[in-house]
Amino acid sequence: MAWLDNHLLTAVVFLPLLWALVGLLVPGGDKSAGARKAWTLLGSFATFGLSFLLYDRFQAGGAEFQLMEKAPWIEAMGISYSLGVDGISLWLMLLTTFLTPIVILASFTAVEERQKEYYFLLLALETAMLGAFVATDVFLFYVFWEAMLIPMYFLVGIWGGKDRIYAAMKFFLYTLVGSLLMLVAIFYLAYQHKLQFGTYSTALVDLYNLRLPGEGWLSVQAILFLAFSLAFAIKVPLFPLHTWLPDAHVQAPTAGSVILAGVLLKMGGYGFIRLAFPLFPQAVAQYQVAFMILAAIAIVYGAWVATVQPDIKKLVAYSSVSHMGYVVLGLFSLNAIGATGAIYQMLNHGISTGGLFLLVGMIYERRHTREIKDFGGITKVMPLFAVAFMIVTLSSVALPGTNGFVGEFLILLGAWKTSPGLAAISALGVIFGAVYMLWMFQRVMFGPLDKEENKKLKDLSFREVLVLLPLIVAIFAMGVAPNFFFRKMESSVDSFLRRAQRAAVVTPVAANTIEGKN
């Protein structure tokens, strides 16, 4: 236990991978599927359990990064294996560990071939995602960030739909191009640290202290900021860099879509929070409006384009563009309300869009189609499904009382404080969000049950109820008691903003205060 006390983060991050490696020992191919499923599910639950320990240890209002671990890694370049969790990554980690068992459970019937690889990749992906959330060294972050692509690539490419290969390629290359320029910027930062402080370091807390010229549109800060932002904006995805998303989402297997929407997109937002904002405060101030405009466009654009999608999954994918636009809008509002809302929206989106993908997956499993026109009147034969679908839909359209409202409300309020005009445009998403979701819902669930194939659809099984129930509980819990979530987030949001707003006075305060707090 002593080891666990000191290496809790390492334990949480690598438990899934270890578990998956052991899982490879389960003999046979798809014959021993039951054992493999059980083993994988158990592993994801174990990780979830362990992450609760994390939640318990994390102290609200304590040091900025907690449960820190640091070990030299590549000393020659000042790269260290350093982990730490703050109030923002804490929740994103919990979201990850929460969603993973759900998608594993949801995959039991959806994935029938090459299960060994499938479950291995899912758990490996979890490790990569968790790692990215707790890395406090940019090199380490980048390693996890890129490593995530590999399992996702295979998940989409092997178990995906008809155009899976195109989608997998597009996903991989799109995100890679963005992150490679970020890599160049990381090199530059690391080098600057050497120049300014005489030592090599890629630790975040050290890089936060860098002073980079930030005057003008193409200052050093601005260029570096744009390089980072490109990577994150692609991941978020921010208009107009979003076109990989519909393809990847539609083609990915259900679990892939859920993880993609639930966690991977959050990486973009998280990257902004952890890297782009605190490292380049002046550039952030410079480009604030530009990004808010893009976010507002994304919100409306995503909603509009979602409206006319003939494929449910694609519709949900475009809704992600719209929802994640809110996240960017909130972050770039640069105030506590907007930022908190944005972070909360990231969690919400993970839950509600994840839920939507699960639901779409469930009817896809039954009907092998996702075309809206192939459905109609499903409520009649799948009433429980209808209830779940309705609830998740409501969360997606941000009905008060559900989680979605809290996020959107705070984001729009925060944005309003910064720019009422853009907030008003973005708020159009409130209308169009309802339009596309309800219209889709109506066409799928309501109307006469006039298709023969649909008349024999089975309602949710017990397992599927188990899959959806945690999400539904979360939707309401997060809608009614957001403060529970804010509490551990608050001081982290504050320090995030403090760093991000250094634009006016550039003072090297960061590192001292962190250590001082410890």
């Binding site: 090459r114 390629m169 890599l183």
Partner: protein, 502 residues
């Protein structure tokens, strides 16, 4: 006859204990060459086992000796014509290990291809010896001789499939162009000799440093021609044309050996030449600037051509050949950066090692996959490989991801180091172009993955058995690729150590 006296110095005639110690790897390797050569003419028993064993034993023994020397101080040998330093010891290890692994992995391949002639191993050892000598040489003539020892052996190896037209053609092309390039190198040496009065690299540098006002055009021309000889060997654009053909035509293990050992040797020597000619170190002159410009363009072209042409390839072997060109480009970036960054040339050293590891692994996999006559290496032949031979597919995937530079593989760590040092050297645009090119490269690496993992198997040919040795080589390379990827510190350290001795 002062010069004669100058040449004949007592230490030239006698070897001290420390010098003998420093020369042990060479002696062992040379002895190995001779012994295996003798063994191969034994007619009474089938010599293949003894020769293989001899080769591997030689490589193991010599590389163990070399590893030890990495930590030892530099020692000048043979009147300054050679040097035994960490750099050469490091690379000797790489060459010997590569040769040994290639020998092991080729064994069943040669059986299958009915090419089990023991000369193969002898030639491998000879070319390894040539590489060792070349990287430790400090005299241009020694460099030339070593280069020829290495090249002549490899020419033959490339044409080893005597009955195969393509193999013959490859050998011929390689031979003609290689010889021409050697001649160019030699001509450059002659000009350098004329300009500085010496063929010794250290002395040339000394002359250079004593003339801060700049050197004669003859020097310039000579140094560029010398470099050019090696730019040919590492296949940088536009001196790359031979490479795809040769890689395609040569037997698969030989191609593997060439991409790893030969490229490492050529680059290691290039580093030495680069330093000796004043590039990299702080000898500022217009010449520096011009050569820098040329190399900059060459590097960009190399990355670009290698990657875009690789995009169009459907034969795996040829694709890897083009990718090898692209990797040359990244290495040139490292070379350009070497002088200006704190990492020095360690990035190049690191990259070469990593590249040797992953490429050797990849080519051993190819040699396992190849059907009679090196066919069956088209992309569609790999369809559904992951179903048929999951471990092989996994190994190849690891190597390809590593070549693409995706963490957590060694390729990423190496690329990181190279580009990082380039940033330090102020080569921001070069790095930007480099990463963009490497983004292009990901496409064709991933395409292999698509065939292996995402397509249904075609045909039902029973897979040939994988020899234990080839399997262990692949496994070792997979482990190394991941280990270096996850914990690169030791290799980085070793690479740094190696370059500090320069």
């Amino acid at each position: 006859m002062e010069t004669a006296n100058h040449l004949i110095r007592p230490e030239f005639l006698s070897l001290g204990a420390d010098q003998i110690h420093a020369l042990m790897p060479y002696f062992v390797a040379f002895a190995g060459c001779l012994v295996t050569l003798l063994l191969s003419v034994i007619r009474s028993v089938n010599p293949k086992w003894p020769v293989l064993l001899g080769t591997v034993a030689t490589c193991v023994a010599a590389s163990v000796l070399s590893i030890e020397q990495i930590r030892e101080p530099s020692l000048s040998l043979f009147n300054g014509m050679m040097v035994s330093d960490s750099f050469s010891a490091f690379f000797n290890t790489v060459f010997l290990a590569t040769a040994g692994m290639t020998a092991l992995a080729s064994f069943r391949y040669l059986d299958r291809e009915r090419l089990q002639h023991t000369e193969y191993y002898v030639l491998l050892l000879f070319s390894a010896l040539g590489m060792m000598l070349m990287t430790s040489a400090l005299d241009l003539i020694v460099v030339f001789i070593a280069l020829e020892i290495m090249s002549l052996a490899v020419y033959v190896l490339v044409g080893f499939r005597r009955a195969d037209r393509r193999s013959n053609e490859a050998a011929m092309k390689y031979f003609i162009l290689g010889s021409a390039a050697s001649a160019v190198f030699l001509y450059g040496s002659a000009l350098l000799y004329g300009a500085t009065g010496s063929l010794n690299l250290r002395e040339i540098l000394a002359v250079l440093q004593s003339h801060p006002e700049g050197m004669s055009p003859i020097f310039t021309l000579g140094s560029w021609l010398v470099l050019l000889g090696f730019l040919f060997k590492v296949a940088s654009v536009p001196f790359h044309m031979w490479m795809p053909d040769v890689y395609e035509g040569a037997p698969v293990p030989v191609t593997g050996f060439m991409t790893t050992g030969l490229k490492a040797a050529a680059f290691a020597t290039l580093v030495r030449l680069f330093l000796a000619l004043g590039f990299g170190k702080a000898v500022a002159s217009t010449l520096q600037q011009h050569v820098h410009d040329i190399l900059w363009v060459v590097a960009v072209l190399t990355m670009l051509v290698g990657n875009v042409v690789a995009l169009t390839q459907t034969n795996l072997k040829r694709m890897l050949a083009y990718s090898s060109i692209a990797h040359t480009g990244y290495l040139l970036v490292g070379l350009l950066a070497g002088g200006g960054s704190d990492q020095g040339f360690s990035a190049v050293v690191m990259y070469l090692t990593v590249y040797a590891i992953m490429n050797l692994g990849a080519f051993v996999v190819l040699s396992v996959l190849a059907e009679q006559g090196d066919t069956g290496l088209n992309l569609h032949d790999l369809s559904g490989l992951a179903r048929r031979r999951p471990w092989i597919a996994f190994a190849l995937a690891v190597f390809l991801f590593s070549m693409a530079g995706i963490p957590p593989t060694a390729g990423f760590a190496a690329k990181y180091l190279v580009f990082y040092s380039a940033i330090q050297a102020g080569e921001i645009w070069l790095v930007v172009l480099g990463v963009l090119c490497s983004a292009i490269s990901v496409y064709y690496y991933l395409r292999v993955m698509v065939y292996m993992y995402m397509k249904e198997p075609v045909g039902s040919a029973a897979p040939s058995r994988v020899s234990f040795w080839a399997a262990s080589v692949v496994a070792a390379m997979v482990v190394l690729t991941l280990q270096v990827g996850i914990l690169p510190a030791r290799l980085v350290h070793a690479a740094k150590k190696a370059v500090t001795s320069l």
